[in-house]
């Protein structure tokens, strides 16, 4: 698999090989205690894609991402990363395998500086030169962060914090990036800017799985989308089809 230059793959399941699936969820059931959060969710993300995960509050979007990055483990079903089952591997190891997670609510290390947060993102890497290149890349994507370099992350504005969260996830040089509501609480102009950056990151070869409240924006950015309802996949398909679907238009796009 080449890191760069992989064209955005159109959805044609029969032409792709097994290893092309970066993330492959097979009928997973996830519980919080006795409450079932995900019911038989199957989902796949292929090399180079941007895939959007949409749905109302409590549909299980965040739970899906947390399952992929190993923060919770499914009671049933299989999670495959790059074609390998990762049950019981643990979040730290999964992060090392190349999954960058910008979690819900940003979860920055509030009492560390911007730079320290970004450094933490590269925690499991040893290649100093690569880390420096990626830091430079993050600063180029978000010039704002270079200015705020030594400011405490907790004192930044919401938009800047989101930049740090994405930047921190990028610092692990992930093969696949999980973004949990990158537009949450941001001004519209900032939302556009963040999504511009997301497309840019993807164009450089990083696969992206994205959760977003703003369904139209998400589907316009992604090539494919999944719609979660009450913990199960209600609809899946190419973005254009989902945007065109009357159900989606009524329920999520407000048309």
């Amino acid at each position: 698999m080449s890191e760069n230059g992989q064209p955005v793959v159109a959805i044609a399941a029969d032409t792709t090989t097994v290893t092309d699936k970066v993330i492959d969820l097979r009928a997973i059931d996830v519980y919080y205690g006795r409450v079932q959060a995900l019911i038989g969710v199957s989902l796949e993300v292929r090399q180079g894609e941007i895939v959007a995960l949409i749905g109302s509050n409590g549909a299980g979007k965040t739970t899906t991402l947390r399952t992929i990055s190993g923060l919770i483990s499914p009671r049933k079903g299989q999670v495959l990363l790059f074609g390998k089952a990762i049950q019981g591997v643990g979040a730290a190891q999964i992060a090392r395998l190349g999954v960058g997670h910008a979690p819900e609510g940003r979860r920055l290390f509030a009492r560390m500086t911007v730079r320290e947060n970004l450094d933490m993102g590269a925690y499991s890497r040893g290649d100093r030169a690569g880390i420096r290149t990626d830091l430079e890349r993050v600063y180029t994507l978000f010039p704002r962060l270079r200015e705020r370099d030594s400011q405490l992350a907790g004192s930044l504005s919401g938009g800047e914090q989101q930049m740090v969260a994405i930047g921190r996830a990028l610092m692990s040089a992930p093969k696949v990036l999980l973004l949990d509501e990158p537009s949450l609480g941001l001004a519209p102009i900032l939302v556009d800017a963040i999504f511009e950056v997301i497309r840019e990151i993807n164009a450089k070869g990083t696969t992206i799985l994205l959760i977003e409240q703003n369904a139209l924006l998400a589907l316009k950015t992604a090539v494919r989308g999944y719609v979660l309802e009450n913990g199960a996949v209600a609809l899946a398909g190419p973005s254009e089809e989902l945007i065109a679907s009357p159900d989606i238009q009524r329920a999520y796009l407000g048309m």
Partner: protein
């Protein structure tokens, strides 16, 4: 007024970046004053056979100056008084919202240097010429070497603090080390005429400091509350005592045992940690509390016939390497402990700034986010436990050898609490703060509290209030200790030298509290 007072105590009302740096400045400046006054009044502390420099000056003042020495002592006395008063004057000026200019600093720098030189000259003349030619007909009493040392050190410290004020404030850790280290090294020589109790006290101080530094790794760096830390101290001490005493007739040298103690204690740290570190906060605290109770109990019950029961293990070896006879003078323990402490401090300082150190900070901040960035949370916590325990094992090795007896009572809950108090009082997560906390608390526990009765008796006869002598202060030890802790936490909740993270936390806590007040929650 109240606000002003609080701002004054916190030294940096706007929470500026260097508030810890100014703390170091104040500590060093008042230490200089303290050393000068002790150098002046030394006989008061160690008995009538030694005269301080100041005593001679007082004597010189009442009779007419007859020798060159008396003139020098006059000059010295002026410099001493100015430098002694300096921090108080400066604090008063700040309280009034003003400061001295750089010129005043320069004058004090010169006074300090002149003081060092003149004290040296007086001492040399005194040694070479003797009393008669130096002071004429005056009988100033014996000038003791200790007094000379302390006075010179006080002058030098004052010169450093005022002469290099920006450096002291900017590079606080380095400045603190530079100021304190020579004092530590020369302490046994400064007091070579004084009884050994001072070095004994310094030895127990070093052991408590090592314990606090180790606990600080667990509580301060990794943010895990450990209420049974004395257990690891006990394990280290018992393990080393077993290998250097008649109980099993094994006699290994101390320098091997310190590594053995560290290794065994860290092993037990890992054994306790592995199953329990999934627990968070309060739950972990309870588990460690239980562990802290179990270990001394096992020792009392003479588990596997290893621990000697309630009487513990006695007759522990004291090393004898060539001219270094550890049983003859505590100064060898003192120097070894100083060396080990410096090694531990340097090591921990670097660990804090290493990958693991950063992982601890991330873990303390947000465990989920830390896991998502690839930090193995269990291993990282376990490492904190193991490293913390190893330092206490090392302290245990020295403890047994120093006091030659270990008993289960030496490792009770109150030891865990005392060590935790040192960490909290000094400044959780800040190595310099923990060291300072250890100095102050051991001073309070081992010197001030036991001596309160004697002081109150003296005071009552001086001020003629007989009731004072009847108060039995020793029975109120823990009340006084507790009150001091409460007062301290109210005035400086982050400890004497708060760590950066702690300072930010306190500031933001203040903000959210005032936010709550705005919303009417109060």
């Amino acid at each position: 007024m109240r606000k002003r007072l609080a701002a004054f105590i916190r030294t940096e009302p706007e929470g500026g970046p260097s508030s810890a740096g100014t703390s170091v400045f104040w500590i060093l400046a008042s230490s200089a004053s303290g050393l000068l006054i002790i150098g002046w009044l030394l006989p008061w502390f160690v008995g009538p056979y030694d005269a301080g420099v100041g005593y001679s000056a007082q004597d010189a003042l009442v009779s007419s100056p007859t020798g060159i020495g008396t003139i020098l002592i006059y000059i010295l006395a002026v410099a001493m008084v100015i430098l002694f008063v300096s921090p108080f004057a400066e604090a008063f000026m700040r309280f009034r919202g003003r400061t001295f200019g750089p010129r005043a600093d320069r004058i004090r720098l010169y006074l300090g240097i002149a003081g060092v030189v003149l004290t040296g000259v007086v001492w040399l003349l005194y040694r070479v010429l003797g009393e008669e030619p130096l002071f004429g007909s005056l009988q100033p009493g014996e000038i003791s070497d200790s007094a000379i040392w302390l006075t010179m050190y006080g002058f030098a410290l004052a010169a450093l603090v005022y002469g290099a004020r920006p450096w002291v404030i900017g590079r606080q850790t380095l400045a603190f080390g530079t100021a304190v280290l020579p004092f530590g090294i020369f302490l046994p020589l400064m007091f070579h005429q004084a009884p050994d109790f001072l070095l004994w006290a310094a030895g127990s101080l070093a052991i408590y400091m090592l314990l606090a530094l180790g606990l600080n790794v667990v509580v301060g760096f990794a943010g895990l509350l450990d209420l049974g830390y004395a257990a690891f101290f006990a394990i280290g001490a018992y393990a080393c005592a077993s290998f250097a005493s008649p109980i099993h007739n094994i006699h290994w040298p101390l320098w091997i045992l310190i590594f053995l103690g560290a290794a065994i204690a860290s092993l037990f740290g890992a054994i306790l940690g592995a199953p329990t570190l999934r627990l968070r906060g309060d739950y972990l605290a309870i588990v460690t509390l239980g562990f802290g109770e179990i270990v001394p109990d096992l020792a009392t019950n003479n588990v596997f016939n290893l621990t000697g029961g309630p009487n513990g293990i006695s007759g522990i070896d004291q090393p004898h390497w060539g001219f270094m006879d550890f049983s003859e003078s505590p100064r060898w323990y003192y120097w070894s402990l100083l060396l080990v402490s410096i090694a531990v401090i340097v090591l921990l300082y670097n660990i804090e700034r290493s990958r693991v150190g950063r992982a601890w900070v991330a873990l303390r901040e947000d465990e989920v986010a830390a896991a998502a960035t690839g930090i193995n949370t269990t291993t990282t916590k376990l490492l904190a436990f193991a490293i913390g325990a190893s330092v206490s094992g090392l302290a245990g090795a020295f403890y047994g050898s120093l006091v030659t007896v270990v008993t289960p009572d030496d490792f009770s809950f109150s030891v865990s609490i005392a060590v935790l108090s040192i960490v909290v009082l000094g400044g959780i997560g800040n190595i310099a703060g923990v060291i300072l906390g250890a100095v102050i608390l051991t001073f309070v526990i081992f010197w001030a509290l036991p001596n309160m009765d004697a002081w109150s008796t003296t005071l009552s006869s001086t001020v003629h209030i007989p009731a004072l002598a009847n108060i039995n202060f020793s029975s109120y030890t823990y009340i006084i200790y507790g009150l001091a802790l409460i007062l301290m936490m109210l005035l400086r909740p982050g400890g004497l030298l708060p760590s950066r993270a702690r300072r930010i936390e306190l500031e933001s806590a203040g903000e959210s509290e005032s936010l709550a007040a705005v919303q009417g929650i109060a």
